[in-house]
Point group: C2
Chain length 195, copies 2
């Protein structure tokens, strides 16, 4: 998605060879105009499919997933991290695979918000090692609902997540794929995508 | 706001005399159609004023604040809770006043996203004791920006927050004010508002 790549080049900050900060427009301050275009692009890519729910993970996925849910005219559900003390009743829990040195975490969702007949589009802002995304897939499958597809704003193509999820056979659409970051020069290399 | 009150009566669950669960449409699963109407109502109430930014607090405020920011055509910024390890650079920090038995917390925002010339509309989903909301006000004032107003979806009128914030002179608009909850009967009493 050209407008997104241009924005990442312009306002993204290469903190190290594997860390790209996009907090000025995507995940602390949100450029609503840009996110509306992102949502429209996800709508275009998945509009041929039946979707009954959009699922994301708190926190930074919510502002992306909301306009996608609006575009499809379906509810948005966000899974919560950790042991949510305010959530009662039955819930599905998935471990976030510990792919990095960070301690493993959990994601939780109330059972009542994922039914077996749900066709779920999973949306998130950043895909790196894919642990969080895999835990969302796991929640959907535990509920015996269907993962229709996964939409990611920025995939770090030099990390494992995208490869891992596509290998499992899912329709993963990333609007920008960053194949390399160079902290010394600030250079960002995007993968050529078919647009 | 009648449609909101009706929805709270229909789908809100009175868990105790001071706990009302609205997770089926407002803060776990989100009814996008309802939230669009909520955002339009906030727009109507504040549209005479100059607003340059919409500010909320992660997590549950984000899906409400996003369409409000879209309506005003301004960026959305969400403050983060605790010590965000991913946030570098200079930041404003405010303590959440410890009004309950819970331990006090902190809210954090990057300084670059709140400038002295910003006119800020603060949006959140629920107002109870007002600690979180006061910490957002504190962030804005520390940045020497202006709090134009505060918009809340559901105010628990039997708790202190609304009184406290209005007493400080702020324009606080709550779309539904719950004056009493009765766990035995499930009854919800709304305050009469001028609509």
């Amino acid at each position: 998605m050209k407008v997104l790549e241009e924005r990442i080049r312009h306002d993204g900050i290469v903190k190290s060879n594997d860390v790209l900060k996009v907090d000025s427009f995507l995940n602390h301050q949100i450029d609503v105009d840009l996110v509306e275009q992102i949502a429209q692009e996800f709508y275009n890519r998945f509009s041929g499919k039946t979707i009954t729910k959009v699922l994301t993970l708190e926190t930074s996925g919510i502002a992306i997933a909301y306009p996608v849910a609006r575009a499809f005219g379906v509810p948005l559900v966000y899974a919560k991290k950790g042991n949510s003390i305010n959530m009662d009743g039955e819930r599905y829990i998935a471990e976030i695979p510990s792919l990095t040195r960070k301690k493993p975490g959990r994601v939780v969702i109330s059972k009542k918000f994922l039914q077996p007949d749900d066709c779920v589009l999973i949306i998130d802002d950043i895909l790196a090692n894919g642990g969080a995304l895999q835990s969302l897939v796991s929640l959907v499958e535990t509920a015996e609902a269907t993962v229709v597809g996964l939409g990611i704003v920025i995939e770090k193509g030099f990390q494992e997540g995208g490869h891992r999820i596509r290998n499992l056979g899912y329709d993963l659409q990333s609007l920008a794929i960053v194949d390399a970051l160079d902290a010394d020069s600030g250079r960002i290399v995007f993968r050529d995508t078919d647009e």
